[in-house]
Symmetry: C2
Subunit: 230 residues, 2 copies
């Protein structure tokens, strides 16, 4: 957990817990409260109440609710990006690496659903310059996917007519949307989701002959149906 | 524009505009204000101010801010669903129809970005029973995509190992995420986005031999690179 600059010097407000531990607790509780109430619906008072602190004590750590959101967003982004950058750097051709990134990203999101949801849902609550500060000038997150699609194209693994930018936006959408419908203990495990999504994504991009031939499902009752159903 | 039940009988509060016109105006302004401020950040006072009405006058039309969000969400959903149901019912095999649905859905979203954004971003602000009332017991929206994937599989056009439920969730994510990054006048037109996404989606599903062979991009400088880049 990152310690915000300059805050290590501040006094812990008479608490007996070490400052680092208090900050980690504040961070976790803020993430939960933003998740449950949404950023606009949450207040520093809610967060202080849940921590059993006076609201004024929070100002030892942050200056405003926006600061707290910024810290949460930065940390969630840092961890998520580190995860996919590490996965993308493993051996394999670009499609194999894309596959690993998708599976690992879905797993990371599903294992960190609270933080991920706050990150993906509340970004617009931050002023644009603070969004840019988190995402990076080149939109670091999207670049990992874009780079793999571009490399795949350069190596002849990806179809010639693929636009790498649109393709990476499509991939990000498919994968990021998981936070909207995934529930732990639900119908699909993170592994099942990640592997199936990776399979769909790789097939959406691959040039002919790059992947093993995919068998059609056996047509039911052998009927010919191309007529529209209403 | 739907007229909420029972409201047609109410008096227009001394306004000279017909009640239907007032309601349409309220509806449009509420959508804008929810878009700009988010549901939690918006207030009936904001909406009344923008309409040049006293806040009390709004109660001729709705009982609460939540009622207003519910009406906006219901209408956006009704229009979006009608659009894809109509597209899905046109002639063609299931993959052709899926292609039309994706292109038409992206176009509809991009042409109705304000309403779409409120719909996709603020659903969680409604109580679960009102969400269910809008989405329908069978999740009508997702069902259109699910149904086409299932039909494609039954006709042998879709790979045997595709899970139609996961595939339709992947498609919905890819397509719905467009509201997060599309800006009118930006790098891509809605048509370009829709067609490229439809192409990716159809390739992600199609059994071998169903689509024309897809040529690889010419490898650059003929180099063999399967080594990882850092």
């Amino acid at each position: 957990m990152r310690q915000p600059a300059g805050r290590a010097e501040r006094r812990g407000g008479g608490s007996r817990k070490p400052r680092e531990e208090r900050w980690a607790e504040l961070f976790a509780v803020a993430t939960e409260v933003f998740y449950e109430k949404g950023y606009e619906g949450a207040s520093l008072q809610h967060i202080a109440d849940r921590l059993g602190l006076l609201k004024g004590s929070l100002y030892y750590y942050i200056h405003s609710k926006e600061d707290l959101l910024f810290e949460v967003m930065s940390e969630v982004h840092r961890q998520g990006l580190a995860n996919i950058v590490e996965l993308a750097s493993r051996p394999g051709d670009p499609l194999q690496r894309l596959r690993n990134v998708v599976i690992g990203h879905v797993d990371h999101m599903c294992s960190n659903l609270t933080g991920t949801t706050v990150f993906l849902h509340e970004m617009a609550a931050l002023p644009e310059e603070r969004q840019a500060e988190i995402l990076g000038g080149e939109h670091a997150y999207r670049s990992v996917f874009l780079d793999l699609v571009q490399k795949g194209k350069a190596e002849g693994l990806v179809r010639a007519d693929i636009d790498p930018k649109l393709a990476s936006l499509s991939i990000l959408g498919s994968v990021n949307w998981v936070y909207r419908w995934f529930r732990p203990g639900g119908e699909f495990t993170p592994k099942q989701i990640g592997e199936h999504f990776a399979d769909l994504i790789v097939h959406s991009l691959a040039a002919d002959g790059v992947l093993p031939a995919a068998k059609p499902a056996k047509p039911k009752r052998g009927k010919k149906t191309t007529a529209p159903e209403s």
